[in-house]
């Protein structure tokens, strides 16, 4: 968790332990403070957490592996639409989140590989353009697949997604502790998302120092040299795309179920760029940076 400590540099260098606790305290206390300014601010925090997840995933692709992806939002869309198909009145399927989440992650990863395969040979700006095109294609399909068979419900999107239910807890309902005291559902979502984000951070940190992470770094810095020392750059690239896409897919599910509806509008190029901005802003290849960028 060193990266966490470094998020507050002025304290992190001198006293990492204290800095770590400070960050955790802020993360836990933030919604309580935000609540004083109104419910919308808690919502904003919830969305900030989702963006952190997205930025973390994109950071894998752009920052670690050095592949500029301008269509990242497509995976987010795949996740959100998977949730919409499997858990909404649209097809009258109501699967629990434990099935939706892995399935969405799987589909997103597949989409990542589908995109990854053809673009293996491309680098730099060409890669950026093709990924951008991929994002647009996905959006165009979502926008138009309501005819002749209604799959995505077109530009109107799909409404009334099932809320997340964890062990019989419906996250969309306020929890009645006593007669007067109730915990708002926004808080439940916040802590659930926070748990996801923390899980992802730990995962990514372990990944970064693993064989795979080091291989990505080598590939990013010099592809030829990486090949020469025996790194299978093809598999590594595909892995980067699919892992990054998985993160996108998972945050897509969370987004869809949290918001309750999905429509193609939420997945425009603008969003891809916004996430990219977060990553670039926070410093490419830096976990804490991605988080700070997303919160901004």
């Amino acid at each position: 968790m060193n990266e966490l400590a470094l998020a507050v540099p002025w304290l992190g260098k001198r006293n990492p332990q204290a800095a770590r606790w400070l960050v955790i305290a802020i993360a836990i206390g933030a919604p309580l403070v935000a609540m004083m300014f109104g419910r919308t601010w808690v919502r904003v925090l919830d969305f900030a957490l989702l963006y952190i997840l997205l930025a973390l995933g994109l950071n894998l692709v752009v920052g670690f592996a050095g592949l500029l992806d301008l269509g990242y939002i497509a995976f987010y869309a795949v996740g959100a639409y998977t949730a919409a198909f499997l858990a909404s009145p649209h097809f009258d399927l109501h699967m629990p989140i434990w099935i939706v989440l892995p399935l969405a992650a799987f589909f997103a990863a597949m989409a990542g590989i589908t995109l990854g395969f053809p673009v293996l040979r491309l680098r730099g700006d060409y890669l950026a353009i093709v990924t951008l095109g991929f994002g647009e294609i996905v959006r165009i399909f979502m926008n138009n697949l309501n005819y002749p068979i209604n799959i995505t419900n077109g530009p109107q999107g799909i409404n009334a997604l099932d809320p997340i239910v964890l062990f019989g807890w419906d996250l969309s309902r306020n929890v009645q502790v006593t007669e007067e005291l109730a915990i708002n559902s926004l808080f439940l979502y916040y802590y659930f998302f926070l748990a996801c984000v923390i899980g992802s951070i730990i995962f990514i940190q372990r990944l970064q120092i693993s064989r795979v992470g080091r291989a990505w770094a080598a590939m990013r810095d010099d592809e030829l040299a990486a090949k020469a020392i025996g790194i299978n750059t093809r598999n590594m690239k595909l892995l980067a795309f699919s892992l990054g896409a998985t993160f996108g897919g998972v945050s897509g599910v969370l987004f869809g179920t949290f918001q309750g509806f999905v429509s193609p509008e939420s997945f425009s190029l603008m969003e891809s760029i916004a996430v990219l901005t977060m990553v670039v802003f926070g410093g490419m290849g830096n976990i804490a940076g991605a988080i700070v960028g997303a919160i901004m």
Binding site: L68, L70, P118, V119, R121, L122, R123, G124, D125, Y126, A128, I129, V130, L132, G133, F134, E136, I137, I140, F141, N143, N144, Y147, P148, M270, I273, L276, V280
Partner: protein, 310 residues
């Protein structure tokens, strides 16, 4: 058969607009290796500036002849775009000329959004009707095939502009300097070429073409709004890659081919997929072509450059 001919006509018209825009992309890429994302938005600025001028002229001199009005508005739109491109190059791209490869690309995207947002502030979010000063009553050279005078104008004007550009690049001193700079900045500078000037001029020339393309594009469809430049911009880039980026002839060929593919695709996709996909999928053809070209023939139809350079 009529449908087939009609699609050729449509494809040629759209394609020649793409080709004009693609020239701007390809010239800048040839010299700097930069994808100037904001180029598509110059198309939009050109169209909206021309629209503004026309509105003004209609207010001041209502009896003015359409041709004069169109010419005057072009004479306003072109310098505005040129100035914008010059500023853009000076402020956004020149400081980044030696930066790592992703920085200029991301900056270009930023400039593109900046232009769109500015245009949104100035002209609002609405779609504006663009006055169609050249008649849109179709003529029928062959029974069942419709061509409007404005479409004919578009094809002729584009052809003239492209011919002019080719002459400029191949026959004049400026063109020689441009080619030298594209070949190798440093050596060109040693030979006494003011490379900074040449690069700025490349942007400016591209912007002039974009302004004309913007006016033609808007006149053809009769609408203009702040986001109109993005899609044509992307497609024009696709056209440039298709023809072989950095190659003028390639950009023209690519534009025409892309226009034809797109209109044929939109016309026939419904039959080919048994009604499953319809013409609202028109936009995906450009991206599919782009992907295919980059995978199977990264140098484009006419290009010699290697796509690997980033």
């Amino acid at each position: 058969m009529e449908i087939f001919l009609q699609q050729i006509v449509n494809g040629l018209v759209v394609g020649s607009v793409y080709a004009l825009v693609a020239l701007g992309y390809t010239m800048v890429y040839g010299i700097l290796g930069l994808i100037n994302f904001a180029h598509g938005d110059l198309v939009m600025v050109g169209a909206l500036t021309a629209l503004q001028t026309m509105m003004f002229l209609m207010g001041v001199a209502p009896g003015m002849s359409p041709i004069a009005m169109l010419t005057l508005s072009l004479l306003v739109a072109i310098p505005v775009c040129m100035l914008l491109a010059f500023t853009m190059e000076r402020l956004a791209y020149r400081p980044l000329r030696n930066a790592p490869r992703l920085a200029p690309l991301i900056t270009a995207i930023g400039v593109s959004f900046l232009l769109q947002t500015l245009a949104m502030i100035i002209w609002g979010r609405n779609y504006h009707t663009f006055p169609q000063l050249i008649s849109t009553t179709p003529v029928q050279p062959i029974e069942g095939v419709f061509i409007t005078p404005i479409q004919i104008t578009i094809v002729i004007v584009s052809a003239l502009m492209m011919a002019g550009l080719v002459l400029l690049v191949t026959k004049t001193k400026l063109g020689r300097a441009m080619r030298a700079t594209a070949e190798n900045h440093r050596v060109a500078a040693l030979m006494g070429v003011d490379t900074n000037m040449i690069i700025a001029l490349t942007f400016v020339i591209g912007a002039a073409l974009a302004a004309v393309a913007g006016v033609m594009f808007a006149s053809n469809y009769g609408i203009a709004h702040y986001g109109m430049g993005f899609m044509p911009g992307l497609k024009a880039f696709t056209a440039a890659v298709l023809g072989g980026i950095g190659n003028l002839g390639g950009a023209m060929l690519g534009g025409i081919v892309l226009g034809l593919v797109e209109s044929f695709g939109a016309g026939y996709i419904e039959h080919l997929t048994f009604g499953f996909l319809n013409s609202s999928y028109q936009d995906i053809f450009a991206f599919i072509i782009l992907g295919l070209v980059l995978i199977f023939r990264p140098t484009g139809l006419l290009g010699e450059r290697v796509s690997d350079r980033a």
